[in-house]
């Protein structure tokens, strides 16, 4: 949160199918969206890791929650 998320705009524009522009303000909103998604993801992964009595989040914890979180962030 203290750093700027570099090349967010380029990521979105490359992924967007049509040629679309991104406003700087909406760039900030996109960053907000990603941060919210990441925070939820991290929280879920943390919960999952606790489930397995592990204080460290590991790759398989993350994988297990990723599918659920991606579905949630569908909109």
């Amino acid at each position: 949160m203290l750093k700027k998320a570099p090349k967010l705009k380029s990521i979105i524009t490359t992924k967007a199918k049509t040629n679309i522009n991104v406003r700087p303000t909406s760039e900030a909103m996109i960053e907000l969206l990603t941060l919210m998604f990441l925070s939820n993801l991290a929280e879920e992964a943390k919960a999952k890791a606790f489930e397995e009595k592990s204080a460290t989040i590991r790759a398989h914890h993350l994988k297990a929650v990723s599918k659920k979180m991606l579905k949630k962030a569908k909109g």
């Binding site: 949160m1 979105i12 679309i20 990603t34 590991r58 962030a73």
Partner: protein
Amino acid sequence: MNILQTEPVMTPLAHGRAASEGRQPSSANSSKGCSIELSGLDLPDLTIGAASTQKRLFRKRHLTFDISAFEKRLDAGADHVDENEESEQSSLTLSSPTLKTPFVEVRTEKRGLQRRALQRRRISETGFDAAVDGWSMEGETGRGQTEQSLSKTTSSEGFTLGLSKLSDSDITSEIIHRHTALCAQPGAMTDNLSIVATRDKPTVRVEEEDQMEEDQMEEDQMEEDQMEVDQMEVEQMEVELGKDKSVYAFPTEGGAEPQNGSLTASKSQTEEEKHTGDHQMKDNATVAEEETGVAESLDTVREDAANTEEEENNVEAPTELEGEADSQNEENAAVRSPSEEEEAAAESQTEEEQDGVDSQVEEDVVPDTQTEEQDGVDSEPEEVAEAVSQSEEEDVAPDSQEAAVDIEPEEDSAKSQSEEEEETADDQSEQEVPAEEVEDDLADSQPEDKHDGKPEGEDAEQPSEQEERDLEHTSRRAPRSEGPLVVPVTEAAGDLDDATEEGWSDGKSKAPSSLHMESPETHASYTDADPGADNENSFHFLELANDTKDRLLNDKSPEEAAEEEEEVEEEEEEEEEEEEDSDAIPSKTPAFVRQKMNFFQPKPQNIQASSKTGEAIPVPKPKPVRKKGKGPAKKQTELPKRYLMDVFKHFAKTKVSPDVYPVLRDIMDKYFDRLAEDLETYALHAKRKTIEVEDAVLLLRRQGHVTDTVPVEVLIEKYLRMEQRKLLIPIATSGNVVIPKKWL
């Protein structure tokens, strides 16, 4: 006197009782005078009162007790304090309910608590001791007993705790007994392996021992394969693996005794796993078990092949025997069978050895030095091929394969899984001796297995590493194994569970397999499967393979070749893993596939990578090496690793293993895809060509982050930096420019 006056009002009955009781105890208690032995009904005050009443009574009735009465009076005169003290004393003597209830209660309560706690401890301790004893004995039975006792006595939680203890003790005991109890250990190991190991346990175990040597991890995997390994056993095995890899690897592989076709098979697998260090051994185990039948048949074949290595066999034979007798050979066999199948019968011995060595394998994990062991492993060419790259080369192909497998814990385990799968399918396909082929098949199967194996509960590190290797290997092997192998692999993959991984692995394994199938050379296919990073390694393999193998077939490379390949592959994988992790999205499909595979793989095994990087393979790879990252035409859609990890760690608030980065990157990739699509849709729906803030807000609303109660500004203020906030929320600045009114 004073006492009498101050006595609280008491019910006559209570007094009477107290008095009577007091009298009796008082008489008994000369010193205390007022031994207020009251029933529980009396409260402290009452007791005091009772005492006082008693005294009164005493004065009235028992003149003879002047002294005692006098004493009592004195005591009473001390006031309530004395009385209290007396009462306390009496209470102490009396049943708990009287006097000073709290004090007594506490004591009793403590006692009660203590008792319970002690009891619990005893159980755990005894169980632990039993376990320790069992370990020290290194007898299969002992271990089994300990395990059983552990399982019985300790609850699930206790068990885990005990496990940690056990692991420690095991480690120490193992260290001590390691050299001496080679024979015993393998036997014990087999037993352990036979015991189905719960997934949770291995997971926990794995986590704990994430940092353990790869070998150990391999051991775990091996145990898992056998499905039975209690966690304790696994731990033990891990320890053993880490420590005595070399020792066990050979004896187990040497298994000249074809005795237990199944046993050897399982053992071999375990060995392989150990060598390969694949965490997925667990998966393999499951697969192996399923394919017990096949394994057995393979074992027989392998036994024949293994005969070549009598030396090893001899060593292994005893171990195998032990293992057979103790553990459930069948299970081992099952585990081994798949691996064996892949490796072509040539090394039945090795398999046998492996079976016996299952326990040992874990110990022997990987060290390439134990090429000898690998020979035994050859029986499981495919599996081993991956793991043991270099050491195997030295040994005969069949042997080397096995050893190779054992040597590289991670890779082998992964490979072993695939191998197992393949083997099961190919009981007959011993033809696929060529390790390369096997490897290819394994590679295909492995990714599946790997994926499956991972979710199955292997700890992240171990499984991830294995998976990476497995993926790489499977991809390589897939083409080689061809139909029969692929089928079993897929089946095995299915069995392994981990639907998610399977799906991924299947896709990946198939992709590389298809690619590999075409390549004429097994090696080439190998390299092809691996992303460019592996090219170097593959070349190395090719060289080795060419030298060693004549019969490289697409289906299954000879065990020897497989061994070499395995070794190389393992190294390659390591390198690849490293490379891939660091590299951006590889451009070519295989690279992409590999990348996916890397997601599941924990950090690349840098240890071995360095060794490989130097090797330059003259043989031209079938696929040109891709430049890292996409070409200039392609765009980079990756967030910087540092940024991503930092943000994630910040939100996680707990430790985050760096292994998560590939997975996280993949997730973010998908997320951005969907995000861009949604935003674009919203903008286009509003007939705009620019994504506006309202589009993003609408998306937040649809996702549920912004509701009627939670305005978006709240979120903005919560997450965004100041400069961004300023952009979004018009701040009422105090930039008032005061313009004095012009007065006309």
